[in-house]
Each structure stands twice: as structure tokens, then as C-alpha cells.
Symmetry: C2
DNA sequence: GATAATATTTAGCTTAGCTAAGGAATATTT
DNA sequence: AAATATTCCTTAGCTAAGCTAAATATTATC
């Protein structure tokens, strides 16, 4: 019973630590992303288009966990700015298929490089053993957190 | 040289994994936070007020990495809703000191409990060894990521 | 005492989220 | 085959949360 209690308290502490760590990691990354000139939500949407595209507005909205009108407007802007293309689906006239332009791909790749650099710089100061711990944890978390 | 290259590629992979993991963790937490009825930014500001308060609008803005007008408006609303109080500083008539009400503390505590529960539930499925890996990684990251 | 600096607020803009409602295309029912 | 229902997207209009610039009030400095 004492063991149980202790374990649950430890779990809560871990949860707290994980929470804070995640917030700080993403704050770092946001800084790198700003350099691309695209906001977080747009960059995220573009990323889905690049890696999973071509896909419909509805699919993109689902992937971004956002309502279709939000994506509709965002894609309109990204299209105007030349990062994305839209065409009617050949199978279903209601559907708009979104895909990335070469400029969109380039922008995303540049952003990704910056972002990874930022995090790599952070991790670089760690001894090899700690890097491995971080990596192992990231893999574990990706496995359990959909 | 080969070692160098390999290590740098591994670092990038780790950075990528960490990025994805952080996004997913915070997505989970957001869901729990929604149940409090306060948005992320407001909850975050309230949290600073509860744990570091009383403090000035400017200090709060700095803590939240946001401009003073953003906080000024948010605090006005939180005050109206009864979660926060404002009074002039006795030392400096320009500054407004913000502190939490009992209702504010209760709300935050309830939110924190939900959030930790959500994460704990996630971590609970892990064997003890993996939990320790996650915890160790969180501690490492907190140490290096300001 | 006049001027400069600082803290906050107000005003007005943008982006990104939402719901509700409308139009066009497709699917279903009779 | 026609009528009806559903689906996909867009438009319109709202809110929250960020920003800058400018106004106000207080404190600090010369």
C-alpha cells in the first residue's frame, strides 16, 4: 500500500516534469520557426501538405485537428503566396485537392533544418549517455502518445 | 570523421523525435485543460499569478513572454471573472499588483490535477524501467532548456 | 521645477480559431 | 428519373490573443 502511494506520487512528478520540459522544448522551436516567415499553424499545415499531400481540405482539417473553415482560409492565403496549389478532385467535384509547390517544399525544408539545428545545439552539450536517454524517452513517448 | 558524421545524423534524428514527442504530449494536455473552462494562455497566466504572485503586469508579461497590453487585457477579464485581484503597489503608484483569489487557486488546482491525471494515465502503461527513462530525460531537458 | 523615463491602459490592427448558413456536387430513396 | 438528403467547401461574422503606437499617470533626474 505504501509502495502504491509512492509510485503514484512519482508518476505525478514525472508527469509534471514532462509537462514543463515539453513546453520549453516547443518554445525553443518556435523561435526557429519564426525565421521562416510562416506562423506555427501555417507551417504545420504546410508540413502536412508536403508530406501527406495531395489531400482534401477536410482531411487536412482533420489532420490539424481544426474545423474546415479554418483550413479553407489558410489554404486560400498559402495559395495566394505561392506555397500551395489547389485543384478539383477528378473523382469528386466537391473535393479540392491541395498539394505543395516547389517553393512550399523549399520553405518547409529550410524551416525544418533550422528547427533541428536549434534542438541539436541544445542536445549537443550533453554527454553521449544522456543523449541516448533523451532519445529513448522520445521513442517511448511517441509510441504511447498518439 | 565518419564517427562525427554519424553522430551528427543521430543528433538530428533525436531532435526530430523530440520535436514530435513534445507536440503530442502538449496536445494531450490541452484536452485536459479545456475542461477547466479557461484557455491555454489564461490558464498559464493564472498559474504564474498563483505561484509567483503578487506581481506586476510587466513582470507577468515578461514571464509569459508576451507584451504588456496582452496581459493587461487578460487580467482585466480574469478580474471580472473573479479569479484574480488587482491593487496599486504601495511603493509605486504606476504599478498594479496582481494576485489570485481563492476561486482562482481552486480553478488552477483542479486543472493541474486533470492535466497530471491525463499524463499519468499515459505513463501508467509503461514498465517501471521506461518510466524512469522518461523521467530522467525530462530532468535532463529541464536542465538544458531554459 | 522642468524634463525624461517608466508602467499601464486604450485604440486599432492581424491571425487563427469557432459556428451558422449557403451553394454545388454526389448519393439515396421512392 | 426525380426528388430529397448528404457531403464538401466557402462565406460571413463572431471571439481570443497576439502585436504596435499613442495616451495617461506616476516616478526619477537634472
Amino acid at each position: 500500500m505504501a509502495k502504491q502511494t509512492h509510485s503514484s506520487a512519482a508518476l505525478q512528478q514525472t508527469a509534471d516534469l514532462l509537462h514543463s520540459a515539453s513546453i520549453r522544448i516547443l518554445r525553443r522551436i518556435r523561435r526557429a520557426d519564426e525565421a521562416t516567415g510562416l506562423s506555427g499553424p501555417r507551417l504545420s499545415a504546410l508540413s502536412v501538405v508536403v508530406f501527406r499531400g495531395p489531400l482534401s481540405i477536410g482531411e487536412l482539417a482533420a489532420a490539424e485537428q481544426v474545423r474546415p473553415p479554418t483550413i479553407s482560409r489558410m489554404i486560400k492565403d498559402l495559395e495566394y503566396e505561392g506555397f500551395v496549389l489547389r485543384r478539383a478532385s477528378p473523382d469528386d467535384g466537391r473535393v479540392q485537392l491541395v498539394s505543395a509547390t516547389a517553393a512550399g517544399r523549399r520553405l518547409l525544408e529550410r524551416g525544418r533544418r533550422r528547427r533541428v539545428q536549434e534542438l541539436s545545439a541544445l542536445l549537443e552539450v550533453l554527454p553521449q549517455r544522456e543523449r541516448q536517454t533523451v532519445r529513448a524517452a522520445a521513442e517511448i513517448l511517441l509510441r504511447i502518445a498518439t
